[in-house]
């Protein structure tokens, strides 16, 4: 018997609210199946299971908010003992204590106490619904269970303040704990740009490549030679990851940021990678991200430079140990064989964790990225 736990969907997540069970006790599940939906500061996320087996028992009721790591269900069967998914190490308990309690205590007898049925009060407490915010449809305008259930079901509005707090907490932790070092280099992408334009010329717009695809592929391939930059730093120190899952920072309308992962980027073709990028961007903004996409990035890439800045020096997203920043692609004068020529270039930066690597390693990584981008057809 194994426990299916509330996953950590990022260093900034301390607790999640179970909003839906998609599987029932007795259901057979396979690794990768989506079994539940969890509400986090990043919206509703579909949670996958990482082993084959049979759901034996659900331990957490819909509507309950529990800390990361809390067992949600018991799973038995053939999958017991299967290697665990590559998930980041669990958060320190102190982080859980900081969780803002979403529940509003049911007000005691007092002036202005909302008229609500016993069932409504019980369910409101369970779901963390504030009765004072509801309008009742029951006898005498009383709030009844159906009113509370409807309020609990309504998608929680995106709360920029909450996300800001979460980002702040994760970044403060990163800056507090991770000894960052920063490297920067300018990469000539003229060849890559031409290669891409040639490919795009024969394609309809929806199938065209964006520069992000070859850049990400180059990051992934370069990481193969620099395992010190790819993995997690946990209780036992740094653990490199054999898989290369790149978290792609995506800005969210209304403010905020998330970095869902594209899995095994080093093994994807450039076109395949492009399709995944498009899909991810759409789902990040409209909901429907999977738990693994939020929890198992082994490195993050931010190309905020697309928005106009020349270089970005990012803050590492714990427990990862590196972040690659890509600036704005620009025509710059370059000196080649004694001549000044206009070249298309991009500034690539690396923020890396000194506990896992040194600047020498970082420099090799950026140089390898550069080398790879000079032969884009081989990406």
């Amino acid at each position: 018997m194994a426990e299916f736990r509330m996953p950590s969907l990022g260093a900034d997540m301390v607790a999640g609210t179970l909003v839906e069970w998609l599987r029932r006790p007795g259901d057979r599940v396979r690794r990768g199946d989506i079994v539940a939906v969890v509400e986090t500061q990043k919206g509703a996320i579909e949670i996958e299971i990482f082993q084959d087996g049979v759901i034996e028992r659900l331990l957490v009721e819909v509507g309950t908010t529990v800390p990361v790591g809390t067992p949600l269900a018991l799973v038995s069967g053939i999958g017991v003992g299967a290697p665990a998914a590559p998930t980041p190490p669990p958060l320190r308990p102190e982080a859980v204590v900081q969780a803002p309690a979403p529940r509003v205590p049911i007000p005691g007898p007092q002036v202005g106490r909302p008229l609500a049925s016993p069932a409504a009060r019980r369910i409101a407490q369970q779901f963390g619904v504030d009765l004072r915010a509801l309008r009742g449809t029951g006898p005498g305008g009383a709030i009844v269970s159906a009113d509370v259930e409807q309020a609990a079901k309504a998608p929680r509005r995106f709360d920029p303040a909450e996300m800001r707090r979460a980002i702040g907490a994760a970044m403060a932790r990163s800056k507090r704990e991770i000894p960052h070092y920063y490297l920067s280099t300018t990469i000539d992408i003229t060849v890559a740009q031409r290669w891409m334009e040639a490919r795009n010329a024969e394609r309809p717009p929806p199938q065209r490549l964006l520069l992000a695809a070859p850049l990400l592929k180059a990051v992934a391939l370069a990481l193969r030679g620099s395992p010190e930059l790819n993995g997690y730093h946990g209780e036992r120190g740094f653990e490199p990851s054999p898989a290369i899952h790149i978290g792609v920072a995506i800005a969210i309308r209304g403010g905020g940021l998330m970095a869902p992962a594209i899995h095994d980027v080093d093994k994807l073709g450039v076109d395949e990678l492009m399709a995944k990028l498009r899909d991810l961007g759409m789902r990040a903004r409209s909901g429907g991200l999977r738990s693994s996409e939020l929890s198992d990035s082994t490195i993050t890439v931010t190309n905020i430079g697309e928005r106009g800045v020349e270089a970005v020096f990012g803050i590492i997203y714990p427990p990862q140990v590196a972040l690659v920043g890509l600036g704005k692609p620009m025509e710059r004068p370059a000196v080649i064989e004694g001549k000044v020529l206009p070249r298309r270039t991009i500034v690539a930066t690396l923020s890396a964790d000194h506990r896992a690597s040194d600047g020498h390693r970082g420099a090799l990584f950026l140089a390898e990225m550069d080398r790879l981008l000079q032969a884009p057809e081989q990406l």
């Binding site: 049925s117 069932a119 006898p139």
Partner: protein, 333 residues
């Protein structure tokens, strides 16, 4: 009034005939069974339930008694103690008050007071309820009083099946069982296809619904089912529970339903104050308080002696419109 939906096959049978068949079966099946009461023999019973039984079984098994409820209920207790299986008919629950001492002080207590040495396998049948313009001394619903007494079981058959088969289960019980037959049910007809032995332990869901639980028994069951149909036309799906057994109450069935619907209306032809409906309401509050979405509603008889004039009698009793209104009140409609 019509029977609840049963398969429309086989011969039509009335509630009265169903009870008669139950008595016949009991007498034929067990030499210890006999029937006694006022006018049960030559007259055929004041509600004609026992018509023809004297001719069929003779005066040893069908015994007319003097007009003394205390005497013939006491005789029934004695016969039961002596090994017989008497069915005692009391004309109406109003008259049973004359035998209250025998029922409450003797029948209900002897097993307890003898340390289990004596059993009283006695069945007492009586009519109850209003609706036939029989005025205040023949129309009351006092079965709730008996449901107060430990040591006896209290049944309220409301369907043809229960009228036909509850008696057998009551006779098989080693303790005193009181059966209350509502006077407005005797002419109800239907068929008994597929009906069989019934238990005398459980309440039954007679109509499944999700929005409100209507709890009734005996004469109010069909008024309640009519009310449920009216509610359905307005989009309210009422669940209807037939209590069947008033003592011991099947609290589990009641609570299971109320926990789902979160609302309850109790329909009881007894008066509200100190009534069976009060007991059911209390049990709902005790067992399902945190599942309730509305105060428990009750539809009971007006707190007056049941009037003689038809319009006043009807006004005094629970009626479908009042049940509909109470159900809607629990929904805030």
């Amino acid at each position: 009034m019509t029977a609840p939906p049963l398969p429309k096959q086989g011969p039509e049978i009335s509630y009265r005939e169903a009870v008669r068949e139950a008595i016949r079966e009991a007498i034929l099946g067990d030499p210890r069974v006999f029937l006694m009461g006022e006018d049960v023999g030559r007259y055929g019973g004041c509600y004609a339930v026992t018509k023809g039984l004297l001719e069929e079984f003779g005066p040893e098994r069908i015994r007319d008694t003097p007009l003394s409820e205390s005497a013939f209920v006491g005789a029934g207790i004695g016969a039961a103690l002596g090994g017989m299986r008497p069915i005692v008919e009391v004309m109406t629950v109003n008259f049973s008050l004359l035998a209250l001492d025998q029922i409450v002080n003797n029948a209900a207590t002897l097993r307890h007071m003898s340390g289990g040495q004596f059993e009283v396998p006695l069945v007492i049948r009586m009519a109850t309820g209003a609706g036939r313009q029989l005025a205040a001394q023949h129309s009351h619903s006092l079965e709730g009083w008996y449901a107060h007494i430990p040591g006896i079981k209290v049944l309220a058959p409301a369907t043809l099946e229960d009228a036909r088969f509850m008696l057998g289960a009551a006779l098989a019980d080693p303790n005193p069982v009181l059966i209350f037959e509502h006077v407005m049910l005797y002419n109800m007809t239907g068929t008994l296809d597929g009906a069989g032995p019934v238990d005398i332990r459980s309440a039954k869901v007679r109509r499944v619904g999700r929005d409100v639980t209507l709890i009734a028994y005996g004469g109010t069951l069909f008024k309640t089912l009519i009310a449920a149909e009216t509610l359905a036309k307005e989009g309210i799906e009422a669940e209807v529970i037939d209590l069947r057994v008033l003592r011991p109450l099947d609290t589990g069935t009641i609570l299971a339903s109320v926990r789902r619907t979160r609302r309850a209306v109790i329909v009881d032809e007894g008066w509200r104050s100190g009534s069976l409906s009060a007991e059911v309401s209390a049990r709902i509050t005790e067992g399902a308080f945190w599942d309730l979405d509305a105060p428990v509603e009750r539809v009971c008889s007006a707190e007056v002696p049941i009037p003689y004039p038809r319009h006043l009698e009807e006004a005094a009793l629970p009626q479908p419109p009042g049940i509909v209104a109470a159900a809607k009140a629990t929904l805030g409609r």
